[in-house]
Symmetry: C2
Subunit: 457 residues, 2 copies
């Protein structure tokens, strides 16, 4: 009797489980179908790209983007929509920049350049100096002050094309942009030119943040397009005496108030357990920032829209967070983490989308072994959508401060082979985002949020 | 003793196997690194797109492409390079086409159109008639001759955006383009307008082949851009009396001689076992045909180039085949299959690339259960490159006739979400192909060829 009862019990469990799984699969399927059918995502992406181009953290464009999202969240009738105040850096690139090389032997050539983010300007007369090409910091240090003093240091290490993972290739080359000005200034260089971080040869300068250090003189720094980096390098071989003149008008003003935008669907069983989905609103001055990170913002907005439009009431609270100032100082990210700490909120998981609006491949997971295993177990739901990759890895800059509170962190991972064709450049436009690839991503993130909401972690 | 011996034997086998696997993994890794590092692929793609645009099977541009490939194969010092003669259809679109709608109520509007491939022309005075919008053949048949006679039938069924697999969505909508003229002509329609087969709303007309039937009158047929299909449809709702004038000047001339291009690396152990890698050289009149199928041609050329440049001597013969006339009559494909039959060649496997130059996802396999299982077992080598999908499915139009001889057929499967943004339209340009995505594909195909060569099937 007991055995029969137990068999029935197992059958019941099995049946129940398979029904649950079927329901889940159906809901996930509907996320994908719906995402591919509606035009909201494309309209929102277009607004970010075309109406708020160059939305630096303290800019009027960023404010426009903030109110745009707030307004959409309110129209969606989310359970709560609010702005979180954040003091952000007010760095401005200035209204013109110029760089040209002058060689007695080869003539003169204007370069395609732009200032690095957060760099100081050159002053109105600009700076002029001989140029030293450097590939690694070791090489710079070996040359020492006598050979570097009063020169302009030209960091020309390429992103390694043969590396499969473009994010890894970027990391391998990015230190010259981030720390080049510090290292060059230690040896009394006048300024810094950095080869744009892209695997392509083209004419777009790619900006990105640099860092300075207290007590080390802040020197101007610019990015040069890869084509012009090649030319500068070849000219230097023929005429090591050539000089470069650089004018940039960047200025940093006092911090300004801006906002993270937050919208929530309250959970109907465990409202205090919060699942965060985030991306960043700001973008560099020289770009529509379509992939970086308007696409991420659209993903986040689509997640809550899909839940609402499909009438799915989550058990836990789903919180969409559009962070301000990812690119410069990550003040939005830190401010958000402070709030979590202050309110002793339970964040069940945080997911960030900041790798572009390409077709989804999977998720990178930064969590305990136990939770990692639980998330990997969800992979089976994603196989029908060719989403296979659930691996350990970095999540995202905006949610990273939550690690302190042991929040499981997840990064959306799309197919990134073409990301650095666009990244931080004028080439990161609305037209470079494919609607279907973007929306496969929205649905993938919504599905993961749904599953975490259903089953906890 | 025997046990110890057996243990040693197993250890030896294990060791041997793991060395073999390591070597294979190293070689595969080198395919990827090399493919991403060299520029040949991009230069070749550019030549096809920019120098042989509109390379219809019988055109001078196709001949230029043929000799370009032949020349490159010869420069690679392949073991044999030859042209296989093929008589191909000489259909020409004519030097102008025009379509406009006229409504007494709404005015006049010119439409973005192009002839369907292989369609007859309208004659120099064109055709003019009232327009009937149709979504399904059933609807057409229900209307019958009285309502269709002398009308222009406007097939306006969209590709279903909510379908995940764009190839499937295409198949679901393509019958109106391929067979629309036959079905409309049966009911004495004057001509056919077909909504372009793309999920996007834009201004590009997308062509593609149609079929006629003996004994059924051949009527003119054009594709209209999706934006204009929407406009035509909305005008028809307001004014069902509106008329459309169409002029096309397509003509079919007698068949002409063209060629398949073949290049081989002879196997050093089993030269009579042939592994075919194929793609098609021709493209529609209105396009650079960058994704369809210059990208495939580049894949094929890269496979043999990678073997040569890495100094890998295959056991079996690797045969690169650039087919002519995939788009219209598949004469190249049939001619090739005839040769295989005539020479009683053993084709170990045939792989085709004709789904665009996007990032690789996997392969579709059309083979016996046993061989399918063997190919799926190779998947493990592809995991480091995020290539997971080894599934049953159609291979490619050019290698399909080999099925008769039980050749295992394999189709390269890239990420196709954006394929139909470009397919058969002016939008299929060089600039729409990303170098890294393209080359990940070249390396993936080379790797599969390598593994099949090493281990047979």
């Amino acid at each position: 009797m007991k055995t029969i009862f137990r068999s029935f019990f197992y059958l019941f469990i099995l049946f129940h489980f398979s029904i649950a799984q079927d329901t889940d699969s159906t809901i996930i399927r509907s996320f994908f179908s719906q995402a591919l059918s509606d035009d909201f995502a494309l309209e929102n992406l277009k607004f970010f790209a075309k109406e708020t181009k160059g939305r630096l953290p303290a800019s009027s464009q960023a404010l426009k983007a903030i109110h745009f999202v707030q307004n959409i969240f309110e129209k969606m009738k989310l359970d709560s929509v609010y702005l979180q105040e954040v003091m952000v850096p007010d760095w401005r690139p200035g209204d013109a920049e110029y760089a040209a090389i002058h060689s007695k032997k080869l003539g003169e050539k204007k370069l395609n350049i732009c200032p690095l983010g957060y760099a100081v300007g050159t002053g109105k007369n600009g700076i002029t100096g001989r140029v030293v090409e450097i590939h690694h910091f070791d090489q710079l240090h070996d040359m020492g002050e006598t050979l570097i003093q009063d020169r302009i240091v030209f960091f020309n290490r390429s992103m390694d094309r043969s590396v499969l993972n473009t994010m890894a290739a970027y990391s391998m080359a990015a230190n010259q942009r981030v720390y080049g000005a510090i290292e060059a200034s230690k040896l009394k260089a006048k300024g810094v030119i950095v080869r744009s971080l892209t695997t392509r040869l083209d004419d777009f300068p790619h900006t990105g943040v640099l860092r300075y250090k207290e007590d080390i003189k802040k020197i101007p720094a610019i990015a040069v397009s890869t084509n012009d980096a090649e030319i500068l390098s070849s000219w230097l071989k023929e005429d090591p005496e050539l000089s470069c003149k650089i004018i940039t008008r960047c200025t940093t003003f006092p911090d300004k108030q801006s906002y993270n935008v937050i919208g929530e669907i309250k959970g109907n069983e465990y409202p205090d357990e919060i699942i965060v989905v985030g991306a960043h609103l700001d973008a560099w001055f020289n770009t529509e920032g379509a992939h970086d990170d308007a696409a991420g913002c659209v993903h986040v907005m689509e997640v809550v829209r899909l839940f609402k439009s499909l009438g799915i009431n989550p058990k836990r609270t789903i919180r969409a967070v559009l962070f301000i100032d990812e690119e410069i100082m990550q003040t939005g990210a830190r401010k958000y983490a402070e709030m979590v700490k202050l309110n002793e909120e339970k964040q069940l998981a945080a997911i960030e989308s900041d790798r572009g609006g390409f077709a989804p491949k999977g998720f990178t997971i930064d969590a305990s072994e136990e939770i990692f295993t639980k998330i990997v177990a969800l992979q089976k739901y994603f196989i029908p959508y060719d989403i296979f990759k659930f691996v350990k890895g970095h999540s995202g800059v905006d949610i990273d401060p939550l690690k302190e509170f042991n929040v499981p962190l997840i990064g959306f991972l799309p197919e990134c082979q073409r990301y650095f064709d666009y990244h931080h450049s004028e080439n990161d436009t609305f037209g470079q985002v494919n609607f279907r690839e973007l929306q496969m991503g929205s649905a993938a993130i919504a599905s993961l949020v749904y599953l975490i909401d259903q089953y906890g972690l």
